[in-house]
Symmetry: C2
Subunit: 121 residues, 2 copies
């Protein structure tokens, strides 16, 4: 049901906010993609994603080695509105613009096969 205080508490941390903005704009992303895009060590990303998951803001899905996260599809509409407004209103600004640019430079992104060759570990 998503209490507003839970939502805002989740959005208050820079790492979590950057992850969420990236997910709003890019859809599903795995931990390693988020860590690469933000330039942040994996345990830190993971810890913050756990809080987002516990808060009901994101949903996770295991795919082989990787765990993919996305904005939870069952959020109430006012919460979705807030996430989208935040992403759109700040997409051109630091650090969000850089995160997106850096993600684009990442090679061998899981789930995104280069051509038809399967990307193995």
């Amino acid at each position: 049901m998503m209490e507003p205080l839970v939502l805002f508490r989740a959005l208050m941390d820079e790492t979590r906010l950057r992850c969420l903005v990236l997910m709003v704009n890019e859809g599903e992303l795995c931990v390693c993609e988020l860590g690469y895009a933000l330039g942040v060590v994996q345990p830190k990303i993971s810890r913050h994603l756990a809080l987002l998951r516990q808060s009901g803001l994101v949903q996770d899905r295991r795919v082989g080695h990787w765990v993919h996260y996305r904005i939870h599809p069952d959020l109430p509409s006012w919460a979705t509105t807030i996430l989208k407004a935040t992403a759109e209103g700040n997409l051109a600004m630091e650090p969000f613009s850089d995160d997106q640019a850096r993600l684009r430079t990442m090679a061998d992104r899981p789930g995104r096969c280069a051509g038809f060759a399967e990307v193995t570990t």
Copy 2:
């Protein structure tokens, strides 16, 4: 210019969130009205309003004994969108619904003259 982290940090506290929702729905309100509506002691209200003011989220205006606060008119549109979405999406829920109802029961609200007689101290 309103950094998103500043906004969400401000929205993260229950007292501040209730004040903001009330201001979104009712317009300008003074400290005593907010304190009455929330059932919260004055120094607490004042402290949180100071943070909202310093964050650029609200604007204050002195009128005689009273200081009136309102949502800052120069907020970027994405921030306004967030405030309105929060207020609309939660207006029917606790504790926001009660705050509004309690405000309506307040007698001698400053600025709101009962009839045409001026309301003095």
